[in-house]
Amino acid sequence: MEKLKVLHVDFAGCEGCNVSIIRAYPKLMDSIELDISYLRDGPPKYDEYDVALITGGACMNEPRVLEELKEIREKAKVVVAFGSCASLGGILRFARGGQEPRPDHRNFQPINSVIPVDYSIPGCPPTPQMLQSFFKFFMAGNESRLRLFKVTAGLKKLSGFDLIDDVVLTGLCIGCGACELSCPTGAIRLVEKRPTLIQERCIRCGTCYIRCPRASQLICLGGEKP
């Protein structure tokens, strides 16, 4: 079987997601050919790719970034937003500009605000295993397993606040603790078997929402998030 051609592009990311991708690569080598700036010598090798992995958020004040994103959309059959900045905005939702030497860089958006995205994998950063299983299901054409990533690609924000609103306050929470375990900043603590949000720690990465068995069921079955 021919290897999938995968391009990785980073925009204003912190490199954490890139490290996750490169860590996932040894186990994926047999099935995909990854074109990542960490390993190559020049510009991207091919004109067309099967999958483009995008990390980092789009700086709306930098026209170059928006143009490049549109080019990638044309080059790649499938676009995957990898990590919270690319898929939901994450920490970049807090950016407010005003900083030298470029005070005009004020507004960062998730990738799906600029181009259509096929799958989103939130996490800060998502683990290498997430990417490995994504490709496993993707190559097997297992759409039901990819449904959560597909639905998330249509969302522009998710955070601990949404988890509390949609799952805890509606009485759907079963107290499993998946949110507490998955939170990358320790912003969720279980008190009396129900999650409590430590607001000042939440960075809006959406990991808890995706990991919550109830919340993920909600968005997958109901289609759209209210």
Partner: protein, 390 residues
């Protein structure tokens, strides 16, 4: 004079452009222009709770996450007048050293393309990935995640791994050290190196160094008032420099090199001042970091506290200095009413190193000059998120 422009320098952390001016194949001058958008973390944390500030600055960089977390925590602790207990301090040192080894491993992977012959590159890559996976697991167990460790916080450790985790990590330590040795052996093997490595070995370039400590960092070894920063386009007047989104820094108004070579020369008997020495110093730095990590695991006393009690945020000013993988990292913070962040300033090692990198490229061949940029391990995500000092 010829001009060589690389629009996107490969195998570095982040987006940057490199312009080399050469004559007969010898580089006369270099411009290193970072082009990543500015996310503005120093503005982002203003008005926020210090706990958010620590979580946020860790996300400046996915390669030196723990370093930013440590420096920011140190600065805030300095401002409110507390210090972590013995265990907390040791654990913090351990997280920082794991981070150092992680970051160096990734750099070795990126410079392998320059220094190591093509047929041997994959060997090196697999050995380094194996080591990286093992060391990342240590950060996962001790810090709570393999990137951006959430256990690192103001006053010490947010949650403490069970004693069985420590025992498990101690038992696996030999395996970790062996994995590093296997990679190290290939990295220093001169038989499999390229001509670029030979050229760098010949280029002796002693410079002024800046280091504040060996394993940790010390705010009393740095004078905050002597650090000055200017936007890159004011430092280099060339038209092309306008695109740059970075600042560059000087210590006492002078260009200083910071990083593993500065640390090794200041605090250890390391005297190789060639550009290849930078690579050797980084290898040595990694080896010692792993060794020290082993010691720390033995020194933790489970019955003692890991976090300072009675943490109250209040107005104050503080400086945190930490020896990040790439050199001296400085965080300055001012807390205002209710202990919220009033002002934040961050000076990262790459800001000191960019002028040095450009200096070092002079007199080398074009290929070697490009390799030197990589050898200094410029971290663009860090560099483009810092503000001008007034």
């Amino acid at each position: 004079m010829g001009e060589v422009t690389l629009d996107k320098v490969c195998r570095i952390a982040g987006e940057a452009k490199l312009i080399l001016y050469e004559e007969d194949g010898v580089v006369q001058d270099a411009l290193f222009i970072a082009t990543a958008p500015v996310r503005g973390f120093e503005k982002m944390v203003v008005g926020k709770n210090p706990l958010f500030a620590v979580e946020a600055v860790m996300r400046i960089c996915g390669l030196c996450h723990a370093s930013h977390g440590i420096a920011a925590s140190e600065a805030i602790e300095h401002a409110i007048g507390i210090a972590p207990p013995r265990n907390g301090r040791l654990m913090r040192e351990a997280l920082g050293l794991i981070n150092r080894a992680q970051s160096h491993a990734l750099l070795f992977l990126m410079v392998a393309g320059d220094l190591i012959k093509e047929e041997k590159r994959n060997d090196v890559l697999f050995k380094l990935m194996d080591f990286h996976a093992k060391i990342s697991d240590y950060l996962l167990k001790l810090g709570g995640a393999a990137t951006h460790p959430p256990n690192l916080t103001i006053g010490g450790m947010l949650s403490v791994p069970k004693w069985s985790v420590f025992n498990n990590l101690k038992a696996r330590f030999k395996d970790l050290a062996a994995s590093w040795e296997a990679a190290e052996e290939l990295l220093i093997d001169e038989d499999i190196q390229t001509e670029i490595a030979d050229e760098l070995r010949e280029a002796k370039r002693p410079f002024k160094y800046l280091a504040s400590g060996f394993f940790y960092g010390d705010r009393y070894n740095i004078e905050w008032d002597k650090v000055s920063s200017v936007p890159y386009y004011e430092f280099r007047k060339e038209e092309a420099a306008r695109e740059s989104t970075t600042l560059v820094s000087f210590y006492s108004g002078e260009k200083v090199e910071t990083g593993p070579r500065a640390r090794m020369i200041t605090y250890r008997e390391f005297r190789d001042e060639s550009l290849y020495g930078l690579h050797l110093a980084r290898i040595e730095d990694t080896r010692l970091a792993i060794q020290r990590l082993g010691e720390i695991l033995d020194e933790i006393r489970m019955e003692e506290p890991f976090r300072a009690g009675d943490i109250t945020f209040r107005p104050g000013k503080g400086v945190g200095v930490y020896e990040a993988p790439r050199g001296t990292l400085i965080h300055y913070v001012e807390l205002g009413e209710e202990g919220r962040v009033l002002k934040s300033r961050i000076v990262v090692p790459t800001m000191f190193n960019i002028p040095v990198m450009e200096e070092m490229a002079k007199g080398l061949s074009v290929k070697a000059a490009e390799a030197v940029m990589r050898l200094y391990d410029p971290c663009i995500p860090c560099t483009t998120h810092v503000v001008r000092l007034r």
